[in-house]
Amino acid sequence: MADYEIPETREFPIIPTIMEGAMAHSSPFVADEEFQTALGFPYPTGKEKGELIDGWKQKFLDLLQDKLTKYRSVQVFMDICVKCGACTDKCHYFIGTGDPKNMPVARQDLLRKVYRRYFTFAGKYFPKLVGAIDLTEDVIREMYSYYHQCSECRRCAVFCPFGIDTAEVTMAARDLLAHIGLGQKYDNQIIAKVHSIGNNLGLPGPALADTLEGLEEEVEEDINVKVRYPLDEKGAEILLVAPSADFFVEPHVDGLIGYGKVFHAAGVTWTLSSVASEAANFGLFIGDYANMRKISLRVRDAAKELGVKRIIFGECGHAWRVAYNHLNTLAGPWDFLDPNYPVPQHILEFTKDCLDRGILNIDKSENDHMTLTFHDSCNIARASRIGEFPGSQFVTPREVIKAVCNNYHDMVEETIFDQTFCCGGGGGLLTDDLMEIRIKGAQPRLEALKNVSKDYGVTHMAAICAICKSQFTKILPYYGMTMDQIVSVHQLVSNAIILEGQGEESEDSDDTEAA
């Protein structure tokens, strides 16, 4: 583990002392030419990577003008902040770093100051009076740094009396930066892979097939029941769109195993797709509608090609936000699917329904070696539902966990539900070049986790987002915990579910061996 200063975790949260410029050095790698081009962004041809394109200033201002016209929200958010300060101590990156530019109001003001200078009367004629500044290259560099110290989690927006969605300002700013040559390497590389191969990892069809085949063998060895993990099977009822991390890493893969067992027990036919082999949609993170749409359309193509009747999304936070809110406008209409089911559905809705109908055989004691808590992922908590009623996004995951585990305890109220803290790696920041901000930004969440562990003996934290799971796997050790303390919700389901034939395993296998 590299050497970083790890923030303290305490019994009660304390607002940090201000440390001017503490994170000014943090800046992610800039996208290479091939990844700028693949996404339709310009590259400063003939210059070094990281330099700005010719005429960048005018381009930036023209595009800002375009955004103000196209998105009323951006215009309103530029105008209505009164600097009341309600958001200042709500950001996990501010709490973890003490850098005042990580107060949401200050971070958003990096763009507002420029907006005021060029788009308001007072700023044009009396810039000093209203804190308006000229757009210079230094201002651009500062934006590139601090707009990549925001995970677009929207916790600050919960506390804003005007409802300013500061994540939307971050998205707008990142998009402006990408259009003058400063795309972020990690995000753009990933989106380019989705466009060319179909998923964030760049996992081609044959590798995916080989991986799934291996999982089938593994599950059969484990429980002696043939559970299928089908790929590209035409005529299946359900298309499952999972984050590609579910195929690749732990604990995500244990969640994928769980989805398969639930489908098996429910007796439905389902399939994964090598075309839409990714739930994630990083187009949201970089604030670019065209790329977001292009990624979403892969789901439509796959659903049509395979002739499915329903679409279900796996455990992926921002994917569910995009799917729940925008799938219809991005890739609809979905009139070729079965109108009896919502489009799309979340895997937890499916599992919850099976549990309610009593068709899953559950042995909760299989999870007795753990005491669980649940980490509400920001994009699900603050942008969607999982179920019919307001707040169902908090209730459904907890009810599923409690239906398969005996031991459960929530973290302190100010850190869950709509006030949940980001894992520290969301919004396109889950990359090694941003490790310091990821570690520091995880402080509020891990402080709450440590306290619930100490007071109520919690041993594991469950999550329903691929980014959260990967982030915690990497970050927990820095805080003196272990990487396997983060689990998938469907991993818990997988542990507790008893499939038909599973109970007879020892006799059966003995017989087979004897025969």
Binding site: N200, L203, E218, A245, V249, D432, I467, S470, K474
Partner: protein, 111 residues
């Protein structure tokens, strides 16, 4: 562009130390990269590195963790077919560290 010195030859790597051109790989590359991170490559490391390269050759991607642990379990015995064993060998993460030494691109995505 950054580069590393392998027996007097300059080999180009990216910002994170992964090979820019996968064809530049030779066993000495792994040795140099490991040495820079204070890791001594043993036969156990080489087993993993060689498997990664074989798998990449066939599938154009590094193996998923369960594919890797299963293969290791088959070759070296069940007690080694788990990610704990892999993390002991490659503490920065088998995905990232072992891929780097094997000359493969860095795995991207939510991993």
């Amino acid at each position: 562009m950054a580069s590393i010195d392998v027996n007097g030859k300059q080999i180009e790597v990216d910002e994170e130390g992964y090979l820019s051109n996968l064809n530049d790989w030779e066993p000495a590359v792994a040795e140099v990269m490991a040495k820079a991170e204070d890791t001594e490559l043993t036969d156990a490391h080489w087993d993993i590195i060689n498997f990664l390269r074989e798998y990449y050759e066939e599938y154009q991607i590094a193996p998923a963790v369960r594919v890797l642990t299963k293969a290791v379990g088959k070759r070296l015995g069940k007690d080694k077919g788990n990610s704990k064993y892999l993390y002991e060998l490659f503490p920065y993460g088998p995905g990232k560290q072992a891929c780097k030494y094997a000359g493969l691109p860095k795995p991207t995505g939510c991993v």
